[in-house]
Subunit: 382 residues, 3 copies
Amino acid sequence: MGLEGRSLVSVWDLTCGEIRGLLEQAGEFAAAGGGGLGAGRILATLFYEPSTRTRLSFESAMLRLGGQTLGFAEAASSSVAKGESIADTVRMVGAYSDIVVQRHPWEGAAKVAADAASVPVVNAGDGGHEHPTQTLTDLFALQRRHGRLGGLTVGLCGDLKYGRTVHSLAPVLARFGSRCVCIAPPELAMPERFMAEVEELSGQRPQETADLAAALPELDCLYMTRIQKERFPDKSAYERLKGSYVVDRALLDRAPEHLSILHPLPRVDEIAPEVDADPRAAYFEQAAGGVFVRMALIAALLGLVDWPDASEEREPAQIAREQRRRRPQADVGACDNLKCVTHHEPGLAPDYLIVSDDPPLLVCEYCEWEKRPLPLSLESEG
Amino acid sequence: MGLEGRSLVSVWDLTCGEIRGLLEQAGEFAAAGGGGLGAGRILATLFYEPSTRTRLSFESAMLRLGGQTLGFAEAASSSVAKGESIADTVRMVGAYSDIVVQRHPWEGAAKVAADAASVPVVNAGDGGHEHPTQTLTDLFALQRRHGRLGGLTVGLCGDLKYGRTVHSLAPVLARFGSRCVCIAPPELAMPERFMAEVEELSGQRPQETADLAAALPELDCLYMTRIQKERFPDKSAYERLKGSYVVDRALLDRAPEHLSILHPLPRVDEIAPEVDADPRAAYFEQAAGGVFVRMALIAALLGLVDWPDASEEREPAQIAREQRRRRPQADVGACDNLKCVTHHEPGLAPDYLIVSDDPPLLVCEYCEWEKRPLPLSLESEG
Amino acid sequence: MGLEGRSLVSVWDLTCGEIRGLLEQAGEFAAAGGGGLGAGRILATLFYEPSTRTRLSFESAMLRLGGQTLGFAEAASSSVAKGESIADTVRMVGAYSDIVVQRHPWEGAAKVAADAASVPVVNAGDGGHEHPTQTLTDLFALQRRHGRLGGLTVGLCGDLKYGRTVHSLAPVLARFGSRCVCIAPPELAMPERFMAEVEELSGQRPQETADLAAALPELDCLYMTRIQKERFPDKSAYERLKGSYVVDRALLDRAPEHLSILHPLPRVDEIAPEVDADPRAAYFEQAAGGVFVRMALIAALLGLVDWPDASEEREPAQIAREQRRRRPQADVGACDNLKCVTHHEPGLAPDYLIVSDDPPLLVCEYCEWEKRPLPLSLESEG
């Protein structure tokens, strides 16, 4: 198993075999504890924006492995105020610890840290871009509830436009042979890039609907997401939409018996408290499972466990994805995404990747925003 | 000893026998250390408002037991900014830890957490309501200084109106057979509810005086409190009163030799630094004792220690208190206390309890504020 | 070795023999790890202003020794908001821990804490005054790169007026028999007090120049410092000067092969990223070495290690320095430094020390600012 010493920026960094290995190890930790595997190791948590849930679950994971933690919970308590770069900070912290977990508001910040660090870096969220341990946690919950990761129909519901969890989950479900149904109002629809990615992976474009109740009967899992106010430029649209997709007692009455209801949490109004006691509510056990998943990941990246049967070979889907990604010959200028790390980290040039020729599609190597409109030179190149 | 798995919201949750058992255990930890009892256990500190002293003493206690800690030191670094409820947060953190310590600005927040959590919750202060480990720390200091908890005369001095420490201390002193003298200006007098409670418990209404020097000769212990600026709506009243009750060299000259001087700290001006070297000054050893008390409490709630001789039977005073508390038949509306958790936590209905029929007295089940004026329906019910 | 139980406020607290002993121990920890020496001990980090690098390196050091940590990362999360004094806070925290590390914005705050605490206190920076573990880290890097601390020529470059690291480093280099070259624009020149101190220690006044490139060929080490915007009253002067002293590829081409480049970090623009890969760049290994230095210091102050050959005798330079320092007979009033702790800590009288008679020179005992103009009474006394 080749995870030792590697970083985790995106779920795409892992093969399906590696993911299965991690989830199996997580199950063993859930059953038997951490066994002091991490004794003498230090995990650093660099949270440039606060996230109690994610930070505490990583810290709990490391402590339950017998290791130790240090770090900061928000940028104001850090050297960032003095203008230190992400790269310099992670180089320094890599000397103080054995593995680094970073959350950062700039999209692409995890790649910058992973490129600079001398120890493994885990992306605990870089803006709206990626949050791979959330995805592994989601998969662990599915595996535990349904006994498998393939052949499931998963309804992704709520904010599919801004919600990074569903952007990661939809493609990985396709890789495992499950399909998703996108349940959202048109304003919050799943972006085309992910629709196309799922279609390519599974040969099937995800079904889209705005009607949660109608979609419900065919689902194995309903994955709810919060409509996040802070992602909305237009607050009145938020107010109008936030109540549209709510799971309550009435909705449950029309749901299959074997349904599992997941949510990355925190929820606000989208799942009524009355649902918590229903056996189909799986979001608290999902959150609890996040500790075991992170124990498994930390143990794997530190080389504390070994799974002889986890396939290290890149999957065809990964290989195809990487082969599509090549640098354009023309200079295509700065990234359009103002939250992209290339606008903030000193000494960092924006890099672009061609991810599709037909239609031509160019994304920033760091934040993966699409370049729009495409530069004319590329139109001809593609 | 039935403390394993329980939460501590109020000192009233503990019998006198349980309190004696905790203090005895604290004494043993002070003498012999924690012995690694807590190895492999995690304590979570959820501090929605900062309190260095309380947080660090809990963390020190857990570390000295051989356990580990995680948590947050202020709400700004937490998910609270995203609107997560207290109940959801503590459910989540209960999956990351074995015991939760919570401080919260909303009154009644500790009960909400204890009701929702799957692990023991310790109230480390919920607004002006309760702070039971401070009270245990006060009792430990009395026990260590005077060798007993009964038969003492304790002067409670300073801000008796807003000071939650004295609201908890006065009744528990009565339960142990000690009496208190309330030393405060009329503006800061002990609220009637606590005066009546002590009178009922001890058969004697506490003596009240505004004259510290005159009360001094009869005291075994002088318990000073800070006149807290942040609790005063009228800042000019604060300025006028803050200098009224100050312990200095001159006052000490008139104090008994065996007096102990306690203070929950931090002090500002109410005890002059020149007093620190006097053998009667006991506030620093009191603070230091807080670590051993919290070690004992954590060990008891986690079931790491057992005291066969600690009485688990509810005391007559506890039983009488509980029996008095019953729900009114009429709906009495929202709680008048704007800092009550019922105004903030989603899905929480204010509950009221009748705690006295003559005179009729109704308190919020969460924050224990009195309902005033009483609803007419209740006047007739009582 | 008499370091057990002592505090470290200034590098002047240590003999050269003690420093050599610490660095040797640091080297052993770097080679062989901490060996669980600190098991069961607690280090408290009291950071009244944020400093990720320093705080995390102390925490990492304690964890790598097998100990534990607690504390706060900024004043807003602490009791300071309630007006508690430094002395009371450190007394309290000394009951919760075995050793205290304090960073504070007020100059002289470390002495106040060390005077009040019952456990060793390490100064992790008190305003612009002292930061002795940074100096030990600098010396460790020199020792590791050059194999010796004496006979070196060290260029101190950048902000020599406000940079506390160079104020500490220059005199200790003189004590070890190395010389420094001061490279700075006139506006940021090394203050006279340190020039005079080095001259007295070494018999030689440091060379001063504004021309980095010209000074480069004769240097063994180039110690770069950041021109810190926050120390500048005049922001336009900052903008004009900040680009003057930059190490880049072009400058490196003119530098000796055996040069080491140090920097206390964080850097902003004063060392170009292209320099990082050059073998002369030693600043990241310098930062990494800080963990081992702090391990050695913690172990020494806690009495966990013993070096029979480290000289405990005060050096002639230390003795001469102490003998010069005597209290003036006249009252010389308040300290002129508004950031001096004597203006903030309650009950603290400013103390002055005569440190030179010819010319007469008077410094505050806490922050060591010079009194200017001297009171007339002292002119006659001196």
